[in-house]
Amino acid sequence: MTLLSPKSSIDAIRSAQRKGGHLLYVVPAVFLLTLLSAFPLFQLARMSFNDVGIKNITGVWTNVGFANFKAIASDPDFKQILINTLVFVGIVTFLGLILGFAAATAFNDAKKSSDFLLAFMVFIWALPPIVNGSVWKFLLGGDGLINVLLQKVSLISEPIPFLYDPKIALYSVAMVNCWAVIPFNALILKAAFKSVSKDVLEASEIDGVTPIQQIRYVYFPSSRPTLLVLAILTLVYGFRSFDFIYVMTYGGPGLATNTLPFLGYIKAFVLFDFSKGAAIALLSAIFTSGLALLYSRSVRKEEHND
């Protein structure tokens, strides 16, 4: 018998599909990403092992081995930058998640006002970061609204130099970054809360748990996989963030609000030391790649659980 049963013809199609029937469909993306993502990364790595300035950026490069990396590591300011990065990313991730969770919990009722408020917050999240950064620079200025309000209620007598004091500036920018990421986290977590079954909620209410216990023992565990994914996303968001730093402080005063990726940018485009900029950028890229692997693993675990 040569007649194919329907089952086996499906199998034939299926295996052809899976083996490479769809390979043509990825060609344009592979082409674009090879030219504009992979090749630039390769160039970045090359730059970091050469001496490249504004004069020879399109010319001949001289290989200097690890000299750029050694120079960065021995720079006395480098430690400060690493601490800045840690503090900045720590605040954005920690508060971004907690306040995102808090917002999702507060909006987790069937009221129109909650839906509207969440939609409004997501709208602000979607605004150009440069707009949000500008308005916060304005609000946090010496004569800005925040200082005026705090003085009106007599909490402070002198305006706080939110963006001009090297001790405060990093926290101010980190808080604004937090503010910018909360709507997204709240949106995703609120959706995750929907998967909590009504029966469990009712049962817990009949058992007389307090609202805090309900959050702790019902909502928190059921949204844990989502929280894990969001934690990595927020961490990467905080690490990559440059727009608010660029707009509000440009890394200053001094080096106070420079994080690792931002320092790479300053070295390359302000000091025109492209090779040191590239070396710092490469370190940043390696760090995010590590996080990417972690994220990829946890997302695929979710997918397998479907």
């Binding site: 299926r14 408020l117 939609a119 997501v122 996303l233 790479g264 390359a268 979710e302």
Partner: protein, 279 residues
Amino acid sequence: MTNAVKKGRKKSRGIVRRSAKTIFAFFYGMPIVWIILTSFKQETDVFSTQSSLFFSPTLSTYRQLLTSSLFESFTNSIIIATCATVLTLLVSIPAGYALAHFSNQTLGIGLTALIIFQMIPQTATIIPLFQIFNKLGMLDTLPSVILADAALLTPFAILLMRPFFRSIPFALVEASQIDGASSWQSFSKISLPLARNGIATTATLIWIISWGEFLYAVNLILSPNSYPMSAILAQQVGGFGIFWPGLMALSVLASLPVAILFIFTYRLLREGLTLGAVK
């Protein structure tokens, strides 16, 4: 437990919830109110506390702003965002479709590569992109920004669309092929229409992000005359002695297209983001 305790809890829960909502409403409403109010102020009104809420609104800032050069940068923004969106969709839709149906090791490697590309800081990629476009003689052109944006957003777009293609039962695709449809036909006639929500969500987000992108624009475009809106804002806010009403009016104008788009697509975005972020 007595009903009284239950009632008390319900009440206190309501108070906590309401105060939390008020706080969020304040911190997200206040900046927007402030942008809009300031854009209608005169310079003298900006920092005088008496006129912070009550002042005679003026359109003079908007009148000063609305010149032909602003119109030009608005056009540049539209060109960059629209071209970047079209280019990104052209390469990402087929890729998202294909990756939804692969199931082997290549898939894992491909997805991980996309996530790595997506997460690399823009402040890192701009360094080699500047060098490459410099060498190609493409600096100071809109296509350089469009290509850079497309490279930035393609991994994001593929990863966002893939779950939409995955949610289409594969049996539908198979059935169409048993009926004799070619691979391209089952893609374009079956999968594409069914994934339209995902495509619309992705298109909206890409457009919004490339509309607001400024780091590539500021560094790849050399003459401020050809800046898009976002780059003009970046340039102005960095300067000394900022003219706040002007900057806020510019912010309003730069936010308007996003606001209009957002009103029409919020429902879509809500579903799409939720699906794309965790899957």
